[in-house]
Amino acid sequence: MIRIDEIHENTFFAWLSRHRYGIRSFHLHPIGASKPENIYCQGTELAWEHNYITFFDVEPINLAKFRSTFDKIRYDLAQDIHIRRPHAELGYFVTSEHDSENVEQLCSIYGWQPLYYFFWGWAALDWYRGYDHTFLIRPPETRKITHTFLAPNRITGGARSHRLQLLYYIFKRGLTDNYISCPSTCPGEHEPIEIQLWPLEQQYPDIQAVFAQQNLPLNMPGETGAPMHSCWLSLFREAETSLLYLVSETIATGRRHQLTEKIFKPICLQMPFVLHSTAGSLAYLRSYGFRTFDTLWDETYDDIADDADRVRAIADLLTDLDRLTPAQKQDLYDQAQPIIEHNYDHFYRGNFGTILWQELTGMLSQVAHDRPPALDHNPPT
């Protein structure tokens, strides 16, 4: 466990101060912020910093959108270090994106060394702590499955429009006798859904008509206004009657792996899941010791590199599963229980935390121990 609100100051900067004295540290505060005015700087008061590190580990990298933030760090907040050490390769850049073309591009522009750890794994461990010691979640062996899937959707605009693509198939194929939420106005972008559908019309000519047939907004039972539930579990009743959780991740396009807290919701709710994210995301999740459900249904959607084709494959899978009888769904759920139990225990019994800790300390150890002695003996003026 890491206290996620304090990770930058009390875990990273405390470690750097103790083990890599003289590194200036930048992170974005509060969690989720990305603008230049949200850059929080920590330095060593008694030394000339010889290098710097930026933690941009919460939001996915969007070079066009966040360019001013990166420029502020490189050409303002860390400029004195570059002037002091003009010939050195300077700057570490820490993200929660694995195998990311965006991170590679950004680091090539600024000359930073990329580092990686799974921020969202730590966030989930902290946010979803303690639910194993509540009675909110019905034990799997006592569940009666009546629905195929649970699919919460909140932000649907901008870089999250992949959710609209999957909802298009769900609506078009009449898979709506499930637990699905979809706003009529995106609470993130504050745009009506009709406008958000415009860019998708060329790819899906009937998308406006398909969405128009729905009585939006679709809300989960007892909810209104598409509430934000990132740091809690919820929808317990819906979870216990659904065969699987359809996770619509933050990122589902391009070459990169960035899973967020969303993927851990079905794991903590003791459910199987289908994952709408970038290609290879299931394999990425398995690399952390979790198991997925290829023994129960076709998970080759995870191998499809084309983003639109992958959405269709996921929709095909959901369509197949939705056609099953209630008894067949119950049987599938029962077959999934050993995997569900493994994932739940892996999350709550410490094994996942141990893997993350090894990864995090390994990441920190890549920060070089190369403070030039001359900086302390002959401090520049």
């Binding site: 304090e6 875990t11 639910y131």
Partner: protein, 374 residues
Amino acid sequence: MIRIDEIYTGTLGSWIQRRRPDLRLIYLDPFGATDPASLQVQGHILQDKNYVLFFDQEPIQLDLHTATFDRVQQEITADFAPEDWYMQTRGQARPAQLGHIVTSEKNSAAVAAVCQQYGWQQHYYWFHGWAALDWYRGYNRSGQITPANERQIHRTFLMPNRIIGGRRSHRLRLLYWIFKYELIRNYISCPAICPAENKHIEMLLAEGVPMTDAAEVFGRVDLPLNMPGEQGHPMHSAQLSLFDQAADSLLYVVTETVAEGQRLHLTEKTFKPICLQMPFVLLSTAGSLAYLRSYGFQTFAHVWDETYDTIEDDDLRVKAIADLLKQLDATTAAEKQDLFDECRAVVEHNYNHFYSGRFEEILWQEFNTMLAGL
């Protein structure tokens, strides 16, 4: 782990809904409140068949809390009486045992008196053990705590004190001896005005410290005493703090909430040295070290005299603790370092016991036993 802010609505409320849907849940919110207006209720009037009051955060003081208990019995559970009304509304006879109270204190005369007065059945679990697990989570993966094997010990003890009035006057009695013995070259905080009672220390000494020279002894000290970098005696219950002072001190003097009478009631304070990887001396009621050991923690009898824990007379126990601190303070810096090194195996055991999940397993078994008794 239990999310301590959600223990009533999340853990207990969901257990009742699933397992005892006819049990009315009564608890206090916000955290630490004990007044009648802070009582919260989950249940169904004229349908519930029994009720349970969770009074598990603060120690029970009959003189202070009678109005709260009265409201529970006379207002919140008024629909359980009279007996023929109960039969008429529920269609069954009223149970012989009506009303349960769950506290976080053991061997408590106050709890026994409440149960006798209100006819409630008492149950116990260690609320503050759960609170500490939640509040102090993650410090094992921060870089704030100097590893025990890297510490250079220069001081004898670290002793934070915030509330010193009313029922916390045992802290003043220990401070009396510390000041009298001139042990002030340690990390000690003490306000000049109690932040809870809002009374000046002179008044508090008159009320709670019987020694005739108390005013003179405290007069030698320039109050308030603050920890380095602190002022105004900030409340730190839900966080660890004082990392530099902890790394510099042989031990932590825990001045618990309750240190008088026979009951056992330890709070999150006892876990601070455990999480800070420190030995500790515990100012609490007699038997508190043994109570802590019953949860799998170890103490320091192999390094210094812990017989203070067996002294039932409260004032003599305070004096014995002060004598121990005086004795330890008289050692050289090298001897303090040796003592700390001798404690390290126990410090490591306690830290691992807290952070590895073993303590949690013990608490979870205890918690489920408590629930099964309802």
